[in-house]
């Protein structure tokens, strides 16, 4: 502390000729630039909401604020389209896949981090290799497979590709590796079963990892488009992104309705983001910077 205080004083002495105000000017400039940038980030959302509150004629006129806020567009989308059903489908897919991701990624991550067995390196490298294959390369065989087994237009068809993402396995493996080995050895001596070691000793200690992984899995499945677009063939099996795309494509120039649909797709994700903001951003940092 002392030494750095001294350095600090020396630094201040060395820069004493510089007027203090300049530092403030810099930070004011930083605030101004950041605010302008933030406005550009927010504007599309604001414009989407404002457009969604205007009626069919007003949305095409140049005014900024709606003359009269109307929720009629939302009512029309909810009653005229199968939006509630799409929402339900998306929920089912996102929730079930998230549960599967949490359980299996944690289990495999635990096995790779904490258990000793022959062939571990091969398993590790094999799962690592799956990360390099782009989804585009898999969707055609997935579709052929789904057609052969009758999975087209079913929930299982929508679900199965996302059950165990390789990236989640690596995330959980990293978390389990930070736990002390003694913990598990002690458990073994006390006669805890191998599954009990995972479930009752390991799992409770990787809460932050599970939180980040769960949120990512949910948002990723909620936003997924390419595979649901291929496998959901009837209007009843569409997810929200597929539903919006095909409805908006048919709606032509009904921008007031398209903006209301977009708002209903975006708002749930923004709500999740506002609630779990800290975990989401920490999760990105964990997977990004340390990964």
């Amino acid at each position: 502390m002392r030494a750095s205080d001294k350095v600090q004083r020396q630094l201040e002495a060395a820069t004493a000729t510089r007027p203090r105000r300049r530092v403030n000017a810099w930070s004011v400039l930083a605030y101004v630039l950041l605010t302008v940038g933030a406005a550009a980030m927010v504007f599309p959302f604001v414009w989407m909401l404002l457009s969604s509150f205007k009626d069919a004629r007003e949305v095409l006129s140049p005014g900024f604020w709606p003359r009269e806020f109307t929720l009629a567009n939302y009512v029309e989308v909810l009653t005229r389209t199968s939006f509630p059903r799409w929402f339900f489908n998306s929920m089912i897919v996102a929730v079930l896949n998230t549960l599967s991701v949490l359980f299996f990624c944690a289990l495999v991550g635990y096995v790779l981090a904490r258990m000793r067995f022959p062939g571990k390196q091969v398993v590790f490298l094999a799962i690592l290799a799956t990360l390099m294959v782009p989804t585009e390369m898999l969707v055609i065989p997935w579709f052929v497979m789904s057609a052969d087994f009758g999975w087209v237009d079913t929930y299982w068809g929508l679900l199965f590709p996302g059950l165990i993402p390789g990236f989640g396995v690596f995330l959980m493996r990293q978390f389990f590796q930070t736990l002390p080995r003694d913990l598990f050895d002690a458990g073994r001596i006390d006669g805890v079963s191998e599954f009990g070691l995972f479930l009752r000793i390991g799992l409770p200690l990787v809460g932050p990892g599970l939180a980040a992984l769960g949120i990512f899995a949910f948002i990723g499945n909620w936003n997924a488009f390419l595979w649901p677009l291929i496998v959901a063939q009837s209007p009843q099996m569409r997810t929200v992104p597929v539903g919006i795309a095909l409805f908006s494509g048919e709606a032509g120039a009904a921008w007031h309705l398209i903006m209301a649909t977009s708002a209903m797709a975006i708002l749930p994700v923004l709500v999740v983001f506002v609630i779990f903001q800290r975990q989401i951003i920490e999760g990105v940092v964990l997977t990004g910077v340390k990964g």
């Binding site: 599309p44 414009w47 095409l60 065989p141």
Partner: protein, 322 residues
């Protein structure tokens, strides 16, 4: 196993061996379902894609004819594929450096302020997690040539410059997504807008991970702000930079959601100027039922991603000058 020393009872060694074996058996019990999943849903399809690309497509496997590399040769000569390839590489060349430079700049500004850092970070990050499909429709509406907000503002500006007598400041209204020369840049702007927050978050974390003492030491040595940035910040950010470049590039080579939705009635844009490889694959496979040809497209995409990633890792790992 070496023979037990006299002090170690034989029984204990045997018990340990069986413990190790028990652990290995349990490990494979736990791995059974996941390994089956990876084999059936990840490995087999990857190989199957390659195999399908060598055959003509038919629902009945017995009626698929082997044609060797014909589809690959067709790709090489197909002008639409050339356009898709060129567009996809352009998306990468435009969006990767732009989002990284802007993201790093914003992270540095965030590092410099004392208040509301978390708020700003959240605002910049929000577009990254919102559904690309919905976002693309919103931008498509803003870009709309007749009623979009951008052209409305351009017209307002036009009238304003007229009123203040400075017509040389005027900008022409644009067709944006309908303009063959502009469409790709308009889409690229959406990609940057959506990817920016990711860069901000990881660069900010990287900056916060750099120990203060390095800066203090360099300052005592008389380094100016540029030298601090060039010789302290940048080298220490190198791992984050490599990660950001590789991840964003892979993402940009696979663009699909935004391209389909931003110009839904004219997918691929005017003269195919916004068409990406992923969308080209989709149209060939599910629009024209040419699954074998589309599989060849995905194999080429896979090869491109591998080659680009390897080159990037080579180049970025070499440039570690402190």
């Amino acid at each position: 196993m070496s023979s037990p020393t006299p002090s170690t009872p034989v029984r204990r060694t045997r018990a340990r061996l069986s413990l190790a074996r028990r652990e290995a058996i349990w490990a494979y019990v736990f791995l059974a379902v996941p390994l089956l999943f990876f084999a059936v849903v990840r490995f087999y399809p990857a190989i199957q894609s390659f195999r399908l690309s060598l055959f003509t497509w038919h629902v009945d496997p017995a009626r698929r004819d082997f044609i060797g590399a014909d589809y690959y040769l067709e790709l090489l000569g197909n002008p639409v594929f050339h356009q898709a390839l060129k567009n996809t590489l352009l998306y990468s060349i435009i969006t990767v450096p732009t989002s990284i430079l802007l993201g790093l700049g914003i992270a540095i500004l965030l590092q410099a302020i004392a208040h509301a850092r978390g708020w700003f970070r959240a605002i910049y990050f929000a577009p990254y997690i919102t559904p690309a499909v919905a976002v693309a429709w919103v931008w498509g509406w803003m870009y709309n040539a007749n009623f979009g907000i951008f052209n409305t503002l351009i017209v307002d500006w036009w009238e304003f410059t007229e009123r203040i007598g400075m017509p040389w400041l005027q900008i022409q209204p644009q067709a944006f997504l309908r303009d063959p020369d502009l469409a790709l840049y308009a889409v690229a702007a959406v990609i940057v807008w959506q990817q920016l927050g990711f860069q901000v978050v990881i660069f900010l974390a990287g900056l916060q991970g750099i120990p203060r003492v390095y800066y203090e030491a360099a300052r005592i040595d008389g380094a100016n702000p540029w030298q601090l940035f060039r010789h302290v910040t940048l080298p220490l950010l190198n791992p984050v930079m490599v990660f950001a470049i590789v991840i964003t590039t892979i993402y940009s080579l696979q663009l699909f959601d935004q391209i389909v939705n931003i110009n839904f009635t004219d997918q691929g844009g005017p003269l195919n100027r916004t068409l990406s490889i992923a969308l080209y694959m989709f149209e060939e496979a599910f629009g024209r039922a040419r699954l074998g040809y589309a599989a060849a497209v995905t194999v080429v995409l896979f090869a491109i991603i591998m080659i680009v990633t390897l080159i990037q890792l080579r180049l970025t790992q070499r440039r570690l000058d402190y």
